[in-house]
Symmetry: C2
Subunit: 223 residues, 2 copies
């Protein structure tokens, strides 16, 4: 659970069937402190019976992303641009899934829920559906014969507005989440992540409960 | 490069064709300090033009292995036992490969060499050849379209004795390596890793240059 809206809704879906062990990874991203606070609040909300917080400091050594290299500016949203944005952290989700798999194998958990979104998101290659199919094969081959763990991606084909709607149905605590890539007090409203989030709430016809420095009207821009 | 004999020979193979960027991961294993010293010596030997050392402290939180949980004893070698030994660290190699892939993508490296050994080793599920084929697919799907990285496993089908012979041909600096799971001054000689190593040197008909507390005769036991 990053502390963002997608992992919050994924957790709300998971808790209908499963006891939750909550995993959070900081990786030197700009908004790490705020995301960790949100994670703790969400883990409390979802009554997580175990939680694991890890700090992948080496991502700042590796660099290659504006999220972890403060010399690279986080660009403003350009949702029509088909290229991978500079906020892409090289191969990041494999780290999260590997930690989740190791932990799941050690505590005998059966499912790993992740709030990855493909079609209606930033175009990060490690969010595409085929990636998770392959990872499930990797888990099957790379763990003990008696281990049976699968990664679940309940949001991967949803539009962001439908994630908001699904979250509202499930009473997901959106007020406890954070998505902005840049700021930690009031969300900037204009980075890629804010743009996707504000557009989603606007298209769903509801107010986003978190504070923003500015709330551009994204819905009309994005037909 | 763990600092062990296999990654040393893998590096000796890689350096014939490539400039080396050397990656080492500590993960709270018992012999971490000694392995790190060996890594640094090997990176010097192979004239690595970049090096990255990471500490995956969360493995001690995750547990589930005698290598990272000091309450679980590291067993003595039982090379005939077909079960996964308790030194298996859940899904460990996926962490190493994920870090290597992220770093490779950031520095534009093209190959990841890993000294994994399957048939003639401990039976860890994340050392089998299919695992690396799947990981290569994961990299292809999960990185930028312009990124082309493959994992190379030059030792995976070799017998351990043939890894020793290959290393000798390539003048691999075995004296700079460490394999023991238990001790850091003189290798114990009886853990799984020592047993595989001593047996390999004995079958290759050469002396292992590192110090041992005891050197059982493994070659005769293992036909």
């Amino acid at each position: 659970m990053s502390g963002g809206m997608d992992s919050c809704v994924a957790a709300a879906i998971a808790e209908r069937e499963f006891e939750i062990a909550a995993l959070h990874a900081g990786y030197g991203q700009r908004t790490e402190t705020r995301e960790l606070e949100c994670f703790e609040a969400l883990a409390d909300h979802f009554k997580a019976t175990a939680r694991l917080t890890v700090h992948l400091d080496y991502f700042t050594q590796i660099g290659g992303s504006s999220l972890t290299d403060t010399r690279m500016p986080v660009g403003e949203a350009d949702l029509a641009n088909p290229n991978v944005p500079n906020t892409y952290v090289p191969f990041r989700n494999a780290h999260f899934l590997s930690i989740a798999t190791s932990w799941a194998e050690a505590i005998r958990a059966s499912k790993i829920f992740i709030g990855a979104v493909w079609e209606d998101s930033s175009g990060y290659p490690d969010c595409r559906p085929a990636y998770y199919d392959i990872f499930n094969t990797l888990i099957r081959v790379g763990t003990r014969p008696e281990t049976h763990i699968t990664v679940e991606t309940p949001l991967i084909h949803l539009k962001k507005r439908d994630i908001v709607k699904r979250g509202l149905e499930l009473h997901a605590p959106f007020h406890l989440t954070w998505s902005c890539y840049r700021a930690t007090d009031a969300a900037c409203g204009v980075c890629d992540s804010c743009a996707l989030r504000l557009k989603a709430f606007q298209e769903a016809g509801v107010d986003d409960p978190i504070p923003y420095q500015t709330r551009p009207e994204y819905a009309q821009l994005s037909n």
